[in-house]
Symmetry: C2
Subunit: 225 residues, 2 copies
């Protein structure tokens, strides 16, 4: 990898912590916050993949609400509509990981385009980024909304190439989600997989170019030209 | 629903119990059989969806082996290649549920075509069905292998219609998997969801026509013409 012309980040789970909503879940259903948050995330992802296969696109916020409704029914949680709405709102205010801001600052100093390419809608991405106060670091906020299909479909990854106007082999894609890193690698990006939890990569027939334990390692790939 | 001209069953989890491999898992890793079996099934399903979206079809047995390899790495299980192969072989000898044989016998007596439409390969489906001694009941064993994409993609459901030579609205599709029942309903079949565990249906924007707790209720839909 050389001559990197831009860095493309995944949002959910990579720059921002989806499990930061566990706190709000815990407040509403004491003792079960982590369980609810984990199943919610799992169903949210499943629904993006299943709907993409069924060709029934629906915006990410709506899928997030659907997934929470399912979790409430499945776990027999006594949440009323307004409480579910409150939890969904928390998804628009996710916390960045502690390594997110320092990494973005270092990358910004290098003068490269920095993009987010996310399953989130235009609205969701914008809300999350603005709430964290990090919007100035991004040159592009890219939503799959434009192609109405979720990652890891190739059309979603194509957006990064089209909008940054660079070849896929000149871009670095960064994700903590093994399935997303697999999709991006399959599409042809250079890929760094952020393995914060020390877990195993997915067995989907492709491997990331780099496995790192923190975002803070990203700038050195971009700088090593 | 009237004038049902055939019944199309899902295989894994509907006619045959995917968690019957938990016993073999337990024998190899005492105390963790259920945990391994559950994560194995989850990753197996994820990989079928992700590979379909990435347009990287791979036969079901190979995906099953990939998913087990991931589970072993993720849970740091000390299984060697031959032990993993043994577990994958167990997937070719899944046990039918207790309501499977009586249901098939009743349906056979009605003289309707009875099909399996499965994500499994031609080989997998044939092995499982023959091992259970139930092959005489099926007029068609249909694998998605022919279209190289997994359910819930529409092309997979189309196979049932094409091979049975009936209109989708004249067929009854039966599945225990909520995502599969959703895909079949979205495609246009009459759908019975077998909710053995009393769980919640998925929130994918469609509902099954019938929710039943056992396969034994299926023949009455086919007979009520």
């Amino acid at each position: 990898m050389r001559n990197i012309k831009g860095v493309v980040f995944d949002l959910y789970g990579t720059l921002y912590d989806v499990h930061s909503v566990a706190e709000q879940c815990e407040a509403l259903v004491p003792g079960r916050g982590a369980e609810i948050s984990a199943l919610w995330r799992q169903k949210q992802l499943e629904y993006t993949w299943l709907r993409s296969l069924m060709n029934r696109y629906r915006p990410f916020e709506a899928i997030t609400a659907d997934a929470l409704l399912h979790v409430c029914k499945r776990l027999s949680l006594p949440l009323v509509d307004s409480q579910r709405a409150e939890l969904c709102d928390a998804y628009l205010q996710l916390k960045p990981f502690s390594d997110t801001a320092p990494t973005l600052r270092q990358l910004s100093a290098l003068g490269l385009p920095i993009a987010i390419l996310s399953n989130g809608s235009v609205h969701s991405i914008s809300e999350v980024v603005q709430h964290s106060g990090l919007e100035a670091h991004f040159t592009h906020l890219i939503s799959v909304e434009r192609v109405q299909v979720f990652k890891p479909h190739g059309s979603a990854y194509e957006l990064g190439v089209d909008i940054l106007g660079a070849r896929r082999e000149d871009l670095l894609f960064v994700s903590s989600n093994a399935w997303d890193a697999s999709g991006a690698k399959d599409f042809g990006y250079n890929v760094a997989w952020v393995n914060r939890g020390g877990t195993a990569f997915d067995e989907l027939g492709v491997r990331p170019d780099f496995e790192i334990s923190s975002l803070i390692e990203v700038p050195r790939f971009a700088a090593a030209q």
